[in-house]
């Protein structure tokens, strides 16, 4: 008899192992490829240091540039809301912290579950609004390819299934919890092969931008 519990046990057992292998292998290989290749040696005489501006740019690029904020406030604000909401849902919900504690031995206090619930609801609505904007705005639509829609979907599904699981909107619970974990596994597997890698590579890109500008003695 295949029951929802069997499904949950599979996604929490072999399914998770498969996703973990693909995720870690993929991310490390891609990062090392970038780092080992390095950049072309710059023979020019340096006009400034690389370290300070490099580190500074990693931080300062987190803030929106005034020009793009004025041109596309919805994209900028929406992007902030859903990224922050995603991180709050991921890292401050106690069942997630338990998972990280069991995996990495790191633990920190969570926040009230119903607060996470409210944040998750806002995040889900924002993600839908962002997709709507992507589909209706002619320039965004023109710039979007299949990968953009795929990455939206694999990011959206864990939020949606997590919300459904928390509110127990699908019965029985092992089924909806299993679907939630499965959606995260899909995200983990897709992650290294798509632009989702920016979660790791943005440090490198910003560092290079800042460091190169610093070397030339210009503001980054």
């Amino acid at each position: 008899m295949t029951t929802p519990t069997d499904f949950l046990l599979w996604v929490r057992g072999p399914g998770f192992d498969i996703a973990l292998v693909v995720f870690i292998l993929g991310v490390i290989i891609r990062l090392l490829e970038v780092l080992v290749l390095g950049r072309k040696h710059d023979y020019s005489e340096p006009r400034g240091g690389e370290l300070g501006p490099g580190l500074k740019t990693v931080v300062t690029r987190t803030l929106p540039e005034t020009g793009s904020f004025k041109r596309a406030p919805f994209t900028v604000i929406g992007g902030y809301i859903w990224h922050i909401g995603f991180f709050i849902s991921l890292f401050l919900f106690v069942p997630h912290i338990e998972l990280i504690n069991a995996t990495l031995g790191l633990s920190w206090p969570g926040i009230a579950s119903n607060l996470v619930d409210a944040v998750a609801a806002v995040t889900i609505v924002t993600l839908i609004a962002m997709l709507f904007s992507r589909l209706t705005h002619p320039v965004k639509r023109y710039l979007s390819g299949p990968e953009d829609y795929l990455t939206w979907l694999v990011t959206f599904l864990p939020m949606l299934t997590g919300y459904l699981a928390y509110h127990r909107m699908i019965d029985p619970y092992p089924l909806v919890l299993g679907l939630h974990i499965l959606s995260v596994e899909v995200l983990m597997i897709v992650f290294p092969f798509t632009k989702l890698m920016h979660a790791f590579t943005f440090f490198i890109a910003r560092w290079y931008n800042g460091a190169m500008s610093g070397r030339r003695g210009v503001q980054s």
Binding site: M1, T3, P4, T5, D6, L8, L9, R12, G13, F16, D17, L20, V21, I24, L25, V27, I28, I29, R30, L31, L32, E33, L35, V36, L37, V94, P95, H96, E98, L99, A102, T103, L104, G105, P109, G110, I111, A112, S113, N114, L115, R168, D171, P172, Y173, P174, L177
Partner: protein, 368 residues
């Protein structure tokens, strides 16, 4: 025997009166039963009328690969409760733990009950059925499978009591040495009600029987064949510690401040969110307490595979495998492969640079 036959013909109402149960006591029981079955108060007179007139149905209780915990649960239902009396007022014609007769006499009682009540009797099964080898579990030389198939053939319905009968339970736990199967794995042509739990709450078992007596039919079942009225909601949803879960207040160990203050036991492995049962409302031992109230998380014993569903003290969200070890191996492999890929890219770049031919203005002039 004459007395037995008289009792057999008695209605439940007559029998209860004979035992000194007042009308008021009887109606209180009917009200409790109606509310337990989620029926509106207007249905109480109907329940009372039906129970009053109900004839004692014959019940054959088959115990297979089990620990007798389910029988213990029933017999320790707070005696002398009305539930107990109800139990007295079914005709329990065969139950090899409780009956006086043994050997051939016991088997004869079972066969007699089957013939006298052909098509009308209820079969209660507790324990799983070994399919690996018929010799793994036998009663009076008859294999469990054969006895069940024989007995179920003329039954009105089958009630699988306990998680072993309902889902295979502990005997079916990995690596399932006896090839244990649940009742519903084997019985397909009769209605099967799963009354899961390890053991199930006594009231839940008697409640299902009361439903059968009242309506002559079996209650509404969930996807796993369990009565919705008892298994319709999760422990988590009915738990009195739920507000602490919502507020993010958790006990971290069994004797920390949180545990003393009665905070949520999720982090200590409570399986309440995935367990569907009536413990949180019905409670145990005359409504004295239940596992979560006593400070221990729910084991999820009413769910399939609860024995294999991860450590009892691991939070529900934790994967079962050794993640740190797996992640370590994969990280090492990733570093090796990444370094190799990086080295390959570097060598490709170096080769491209070596092949690069420098072109001067003179060369271009010559070519044009």
């Amino acid at each position: 025997m004459a007395d037995h036959m008289k009792r057999f013909r008695q209605t439940l109402g007559e029998s209860l009166r004979e035992r000194g149960v007042s009308r008021r006591g009887f109606l209180k029981y009917c009200t409790a039963t109606a509310s337990m079955m989620a029926l509106p108060p207007t249905m109480v007179p109907a329940v009372a009328a039906a129970l009053e007139k109900a004839k004692r149905p014959s019940v054959i209780w088959l115990s297979f690969q089990e620990c007798t915990g389910c029988t213990e649960s029933i017999t320790r239902s707070h005696s002398p409760s009305l539930e107990n009396l109800i139990f007295d007022h079914i005709s329990l014609d065969y139950h090899h733990t409780l009956q006086v007769a043994s050997g051939d006499a016991a088997e004869a009682a079972r066969e007699a009950a089957m013939h006298e009540n052909e098509g009308k009797y209820l079969v209660v099964v507790d324990g799983s059925i070994p399919l690996g080898n018929p010799g793994f579990s036998t009663i009076a030389g008859i294999s469990n499978l054969q006895m069940m198939e024989e007995t179920v053939a003329g039954a009105a319905a089958v009630i699988a009591v306990g998680s072993c009968a309902a889902f295979g339970g502990l005997p079916q736990a990995n690596p399932n040495p006896t090839g244990a199967a649940s009742v519903s794995d084997i019985v397909h042509d009769k209605p099967v009600v799963n009354v899961s739990g390890c053991p199930p709450i006594p009231t839940v078992i008697t409640g299902v029987l009361a439903h059968f007596l009242t309506f002559g039919s079996l209650p509404e079942l969930d996807a796993l064949g369990r009565p919705m009225v008892f298994y319709g909601q999760s422990i988590h949803d009915r738990c009195y510690r739920r507000p602490f879960y919502d507020k993010g207040l958790f006990a971290e160990t069994f004797d920390d401040e949180g545990a003393r203050k009665g905070w949520c036991l999720y982090r200590l492995g409570c399986k309440g969110p995935m367990a569907y049962n009536a413990c949180a409302t019905t409670k145990w031992n005359q409504g004295v307490s239940w596992p979560v109230e006593s400070g221990h998380g729910c084991l999820g014993c009413s769910e399939p595979d609860f024995w294999d569903a991860g450590g009892f003290y691991n939070a529900l969200s934790i994967p079962d495998s050794d993640i740190i070890r797996n992640a370590g191996i994969v990280t090492a492999a990733g570093v090796a492969l990444g370094a190799a890929a990086g080295a390959l890219n570097r060598s490709t770049r170096a080769k491209a640079a070596a092949k690069h031919e420098t072109v001067t203005i003179d060369d271009l002039d010559r070519k044009s």
